[in-house]
Amino acid sequence: MSEANDPTGGVVADEPGEPDEPGGPTDGAAPGRGPEAVPPGARPGAGHRRAAKGREGLEPPLRHRIITVSLLTVAAIYFLTPVYWLVVSSTKSSSDLFGTFGFWFHDPHPLDYLHRVLTYDDGIYARWFANSLMYAGVGALAATLLSAAAGYALAKYRFPGREGIFNVILAGVLIPGTALALPLYLLFSEIGLANTYWAVLIPSVVSPFGVYLCRIYAAAAVPDSLLEAARIDGAGEARIFSTLGLRLMTPALVTVFLFQFVHIWNNFFLPLVMLSDSDLYPIQLGLTSWQGYADRQPELYQYTVGGAFLSVLPLMVLMGVLQRYWRTGLTEGSVKA
């Protein structure tokens, strides 16, 4: 079976040949080890693939390279311009936001303004930030563990109804989250959960996509023979899962965690529907409320911009790291067409 035809993007095809290296599919994407950084032959069995790509031997002509780099530069300008504007604008007062040219600095006071963002309204911004971190961090961690256990069970045990359950979970991937949020709010109101931390946390820990990814990965990366050997040694099922299963599934778990973290951090509709107490808000919700009041309180324009700048920083750093991790991790979830 050639990897190219494998809709799961290689994870299943890669594994059987490398049973001792569960990290196989994703480890080519570990930080600092992007394909261009891997010396040919660094990893026996996979090295020949990378070496054969050998760009050194078949350099495209100079003209092609110039065209390629110019096109890429134009695209980079498009993607970076708003970010650049945000950096410049976070150093301006509200009146300078309106009065001066947006793509250049004017009387910059970055620390002063950011300090005001952090202290406005008794430091509510810091609270929103902490809320966002809590929702995304706790939610993603719980989602990862739940997905790991469910995916592992679906991959490694045989029981009646297994495929049926899996198909229902898969259908969950295709249901728009926002279509669920409204009825979920009505439901949570009935049982008194609306407008609490739980209202955002509970739905955030359910990741059908995570289960899908974990099942595929566990099927390939956790050998049955190893489980059998552990059972013969007398280990219980829970212990086998927590010591062997989780460790062998680590690359997939990292992907699920990061995926879900970004998903929860970026989610707007769910907290908007669920929360009315601004003490429970995540950042996005808080910033839109500032933006809404900015007509009456012009300094809020500046706080919105400064707050947006601060909120974007951690995820931007995370993105820089992620794009290396996710190089191969993502297609493991390819939909079977």
Binding site: G34, F98, A149, A150, L174, L187, V206, A238, V312, T331
Partner: protein
């Protein structure tokens, strides 16, 4: 899966128990957060509030059976159906543009010399870390006359642009979505490109194929599964369009309360306090999303049945 069939032994009974132990926590929450809301929305959508008392004013309210009248109401509401038409038009234009853009960038990066690839890849992917709301606030500032340096620059060369006008605002929103998600889709495609064995390229090069021919005839067909994946996820995302129009609404007169189906359902529930119609609209939205994404998967699945992928 791969073991030979045996009779149910004591060990296997034990493992079935273990399996349910691993599955149950997820399944319980899945039931609560996916199955129950759908059931509840269906139930709510079939009810309506009826006021008792003289002239239907004041007094008690109670929920009564409404049949499909909420659905009829939603489908007869021009604003709601116009919102659906709008997101479908949006998807028909924005998704192909974004996927083509992402594919182009992925192929360029795959062909580019190694030194710059890391910088460009990071630059393209960065916007994915900006939440939709923040991206909309950000671009909102870049669209509003008086604050936007883009409008100012266009003005200075005598070009009068109105990013938030009636005809333009939908495409201004499309730009925000494209800005956010092109890099992510590009990364999915690059991941698939990396899974293509290098021998294929080498063979093609030796046969004298140009870089363009390699891209067109080898790389593109091989990243098909990733293209399908990104398209389906984009489709689901498009139907849910909410944060962008909600944030831009105060800035533009052209965005009404039913601009997208999601916005309509939200306003129906929280502004008009009519949760039964909101539930019907949520059900319709989920239904259309499922039909479209399953339909698309079937469509490409049938055309793609040339290999083992089924």
């Amino acid at each position: 899966m791969r073991e030979a069939p045996r009779r149910l032994t004591r060990a296997e009974a034990r493992s079935a128990r273990a399996a349910s132990g691993f599955l149950l926590p997820f399944l319980a929450l899945f039931l609560l957060c996916f199955v129950a809301p759908i059931g509840y929305a269906l139930y709510e959508s079939l009810l309506k509030v009826e006021r008792t008392g003289p002239l239907g004013l004041g007094g008690e309210t109670k929920q009564v059976w409404a049949g499909l009248s909420n659905y009829v109401h939603a489908l007869e509401d021009d604003r709601f159906t116009a919102g659906f038409g709008r997101v479908l038009l949006f998807g028909a234009v924005q998704i192909p543009v974004m996927i083509a853009f992402a594919t182009g960038l992925a192929l360029l990066l795959d062909a580019a010399s190694a030194r710059w690839v890391g910088f460009f890849r990071t630059a393209f992917f960065l916007p994915y870390g900006v939440p939709g709301v923040i991206a909309s606030i950000l671009w909102g500032f870049l669209y509003v006359p008086g604050i936007s340096p883009l409008v100012e620059m266009a003005d200075s060369v005598g070009w009068n642009v109105d990013f938030l006008g009636r005809g333009a605002v939908l495409w201004s929103i499309a730009n925000i979505v494209t800005w956010q998600f092109t890099g992510y889709n590009m990364l999915v495609l690059i991941a698939q490109l990396k899974a293509v064995p290098g021998e294929l390229y080498e063979a093609a090069r030796i046969d004298g194929a140009s870089a363009w021919q390699v891209a067109r005839h080898i790389k593109l067909p091989l990243i098909r599964p990733a293209l399908v994946l990104t398209t389906v996820f984009s489709l689901i995302g498009t139907l849910q369009l909410f944060a962008e129009p909600k944030v831009l609404k105060p800035l533009s007169n052209s965005i009404d309360s039913g601009y997208t189906p999601n916005l309509a359902a939200y306003n129906e529930a929280f502004t008009s306090n009519n949760q039964h119609i909101a539930a019907a609209e949520a059900v319709l939205l989920a239904l259309v999303a499922c039909v479209l994404s399953f339909g698309f998967l079937r469509l490409v699945g049938q055309r793609g049945k040339d290999g083992e992928s089924g």
